[in-house]
Every structure is written in C-alpha cells, then in structure tokens.
Symmetry: C2
Subunit: 309 residues, 2 copies
C-alpha cells in the first residue's frame, strides 16, 4: 500500500463533569487526510485546503505527531501529508486532535499497522502538546477509538472505551470566534473547593454508570460542571442563554465543548437534537456572530479509511 485516504472526525472533550478525561466522537464533521509514501525519509506537508495551517513539518500538528511515531518505529521511506481541513482550529471540537490522530493512524496503516489504535495515542499526543501546551488525551481517545472514552490517567495514557446509549444524539453550535486552548486554560483556577470536587466526581461516576445502563435521566442529572464551566463560560458570548435554550427544548444537558467556544448538547433522539440546534441558533441571531450547527450521532467507529492504493 502506497497511499491512504482517511476521515478524521471532530470530537467533544471536557464533557461537563469530565474535564480533561471524558470525550466523545462526532460523525458528520471531520478532516480528509491523504498520506502518501515518499522515497526520501521524513515527513512533508503537501497541500492544505480549507484552513491556513503551517506547512513547516516542525510546526504542523499532523507532521509533528508522525515524527513522534517515526522516532520509535524507524522507516526507510517517508510520508507526504495532504490535508483538507474542515475543522476550524480553535473551534473547540478537537481540530488539532483530528489532525494528529488522523496522521498517525494513516502512517501506521502504511507501515503495516505495527500499533493498535490505543497505542497511537502516545504519538498523536505530540501534536496536542504543540497545539495547546498541555498533555491531554480527551480528544485523541475518542477520535482514535470512537464512541465515548475516559482517560483514567493523562500521564500513563490509560484510556477506556465506554458504551454509548443507542438514542444519544449530539448538537454542536460553533460560534465563529477563535479561542485558543492555551488561553482557555489560563483562565482556570489551579485549586478547587473540595466540596465542588466531590460533586464533580459524583457526577462523573454517575455519568459513566448511565452510559452502561442507558439511563438517560441519570445522564441528564449528572451533566453538571461547577468547576470549569463557570470560568470558561465568561469567554463565550451568550453561553448561559444558549445552554438554557438547549435544555428548555429538551436536551438532556449542555456544556462547553472542549475549551470552547463551541457549545454542545446531548439529547435523546434525532428529532429533539435538531430542535435543540434550532433553539441554540436563535440565541446568536441577534448578535453579529456567524455560527455553524452540527447534529451528530455518537460516532462509534472513530477515524475511518476512505481509500487506499
């Protein structure tokens, strides 16, 4: 095999009660990446369409992730990466994770798949660190493994795939303002009240239980975040109004996607999820902010191969 084309999906991390540990994978939006073997070793960035991104292999998250893989797994040939970038950087739906995970997935395949999807997280991490300055796998894990994922430890990269209730549908609204993860991190307090931390882990435990038991009511009750959201909400215009509109329209819960500015909601059933999207939209209609809305089932598969030759 000399060339592979893959679809690297967007994802939602920091799912309410699961800051830095809980994420899920989206279906309709993602990048198309084509990776081609080259005679000379190393990694080059070919064409980039859709967004403006660095073509210097040491500055592009896709190539940086691949270079990390090639440090461990030596290859006599090299790789050219062409990217059709559909996920806007800084949108809060895992733009850098899609690039980094997609690139290592594709290269791994061309190398004869020496690594499992889970093992690829460690290499893709180099891309995340370049993008945000922090080592976190809560977008990488759902992109590579699909579905909901829990990162037990960001240090040892102990990652678990969780089940998804069958009727769960996500709605994402992306107001087109850019928030760098690195700035959204800076706004957070480095200590939290013990009482609030206890509430948060009670909610996360309940959320995980609800995923196993398809308990939509419990899922709804546990979608709370009193630690991160109150701070980051300040960076997102009309966050509270958009969230309230989603919940009043029947969403199980709503919160900040990743580090924002995208806002996600989870609903039971496609019909409700679409109505929730319409209700969220109306909140932005009187502002001069462009937005995009995505309605998506939980993508159980993660990255997928479109073509290979």
């Amino acid at each position: 095999m000399d060339q592979i084309e893959i679809f690297a999906p967007a994802s939602v991390a920091n799912v309410s009660c699961g800051f830095d540990v809980l994420g899920f994978c989206l279906e309709p939006i993602g990048d198309i990446m084509r990776v081609t073997k080259t005679e000379s070793p190393g990694v080059t960035i070919g064409s980039i369409t859709g967004q403006e991104l660095p073509t210097d292999p040491l500055k592009n998250v896709a190539s940086v992730a691949v270079l990390s893989l090639l440090k461990t797994f030596k290859s006599s040939y090299g790789f050219r990466i062409d990217i059709d970038k559909k996920i806007k950087p800084g949108s809060g739906i895992g733009s850098s994770a899609a690039s980094a995970a997609g690139a290592v997935f594709a290269v791994n395949h061309l190398l004869g798949a020496p690594y499992s999807r889970k093992e690829l997280i460690q290499f893709a991490m180099a891309g995340e660190v370049l993008a945000s300055g922090a080592k976190h796998a809560d977008n990488l894990a759902p992109v590579l493994l699909g579905g909901f994922t829990l990162v037990r430890s960001n240090k040892s990269l102990d990652v678990i795939k969780l089940p998804s209730p069958p009727d769960l549908v996500a709605t994402i609204i992306h107001p087109k303002i850019e928030l760098k993860t690195i700035h959204s991190r800076a706004i957070l307090k480095q200590t939290v009240p013990l009482e609030k931390a206890v509430e948060q882990w009670g909610n996360l435990g309940a959320f995980v239980s609800a995923l196993y038991t398809n308990d939509y009511e419990l899922l709804s009750r546990s979608m709370k975040d009193k630690i991160i959201e109150p701070f980051r909400a300040m960076l997102i215009p009309k966050f509270e109004e958009v969230k309230a509109a989603a919940i009043n329209t029947g969403a199980l819960g709503s919160g900040i996607s990743g580090s924002g500015p995208s806002i996600y909601a989870l609903s039971k059933g496609m019909k409700t999820a679409i109505e929730v999207g319409n209700a969220m939209k109306t909140q932005f209609d009187d502002l001069d902010i462009e937005y995009e809305v995505h309605v998506s089932k939980i993508n159980e598969e993660g990255i997928k191969i479109i073509n290979s030759l």
Copy 2:
C-alpha cells in the same frame, strides 16, 4: 406484624478514589436489631448490648433516624429498639450507618413498608448527621441497597446501585483505636489542586467502568487517592506499611475504610483476600495495638430480616 429482628451490616465508604460518594456493603459483620411495636407513640431504646451507647432517644442515632421517619409518616403506636451492637463506633466501617439504616428499615417494615430502601436513606441521614456532623450517604446507601453504591449527590440524595464483579472479596483490618469521623474531617484541606482532582475523577470514572466490565486490572489501577488519604493516613499507625503489605500479597488495592482507622483491601478471590488479611496483621503484631480482621464477599443484599412476628 408486631416485632422484627434484622441484621444491619457494616460497610466501607470513601473507597479510595470515591471520597464521600463510593461505598460497598460487607457480609460477616453487623448489628442485630430488634424493633417492637409499643402502645404509646414515640421511640424508646430498650437494651443495648455489645457497646456502650446512649439510651436517650434524642442522642442515639437509631432512634433519631426513626424520629425523622415518624415526622413524615405519622404512626399511632410507637417503637422500642433493642440493639446488639457488634460494630464498634469509630471503627470506620459504618457503625452509625448500620444503626440508623437498620432502625428505619425495621420501623418501615412494621409500618407496612411505605418507603423503598432508597427512600429510607433520607431518614437514616438524621442519624449520620448526629454521629458525624456531616450529611453523607456513602455508608447508608450500601447498607440499605447492598453491593457497591455511588452517591451522585449528597444534597439531593441521588443514589445509584452499581454491579459487583463476582470474584471481588474485601479484607478489613480494624486496629482498635478510636477515630471520630468529626476529627478525621477536620484534618482535610478545604481546597484541592485541580490537577489532583482531575486524576481523582479519572480514577473514579474508571473504577465505575471496571465494576460494569469485571475488569479487575482496571479496578486495581484506579484504586488511588491522592487527595484524602495522604492526610488521614497520618492518623492511622502504620497505614502505609499495612497498605503495602496488602498490595504486595496480591490485593488489587487498599485504602482507608471510611474515615479510618480501619484499612480495607480488595482482592480477586477468597484465597488471596485471606492471605492479604494475614499480611496486614503482621504489621500490627509488633505494636501494642489490638486488631480485628474481617474477610468478606460483597454483600449484594444489604440489611436483611432475620425474624418477624
């Protein structure tokens, strides 16, 4: 029915990563309580054997819990409570929870069971507040519901029963020094580093997942507590040595039971759990501290009826 005799089991709360939310129910140790209808309304404490406890109904956790129930559910007759108290107060295995939950369970039964086991938690809580000054349900929930339980919210008493892996066996060592919950709470810091809180909820999410999937390895990796244990360990002689002995003998993990001084371990299989108990013991043998060791399967049933007339 005029009289009921029940077994109210001990329990382990604050299970490592699940401070204030995660607990499980023990099998071999518990109180025997006999509750008898009386003509005159109200609650009296009859005989108390095994331990010295207040007989004033306003100072005994069992009667205080029953009084809380009778505030909501009026009864024309009253109740006498006789207690054979096997669980030593201040031992860290839910002594007050057994008394409070046992008493309301028995009275509820004599009243024709107007409340579910889950609903009884709210009344038993009055006993816990009397005993420790704090409103926490992480011992009450496993005593009433059996098995592992998660308290999503101590405020709204949203409690979930979790499944138990079939081969899981607990070992408890109880060094006979008394630690009041109220003092063990005072030693805790009221704020925690965000980074440690994230680790803790990552571990709790993984622990819950492991219970659903019978993943003993994951259970083991997630039995960590870097927030509460480092402080409370200072109140327990040789805690670190006992914990290390348990883990070196094959326990999946070990930590403080409740607010101590008891130390628990979880193992896969009865044989290992017994060996773990022996290893824990040897740590106390060169100190002049008495101890008791209990080895217990997870008690899936919780409180049970022994007799009724």
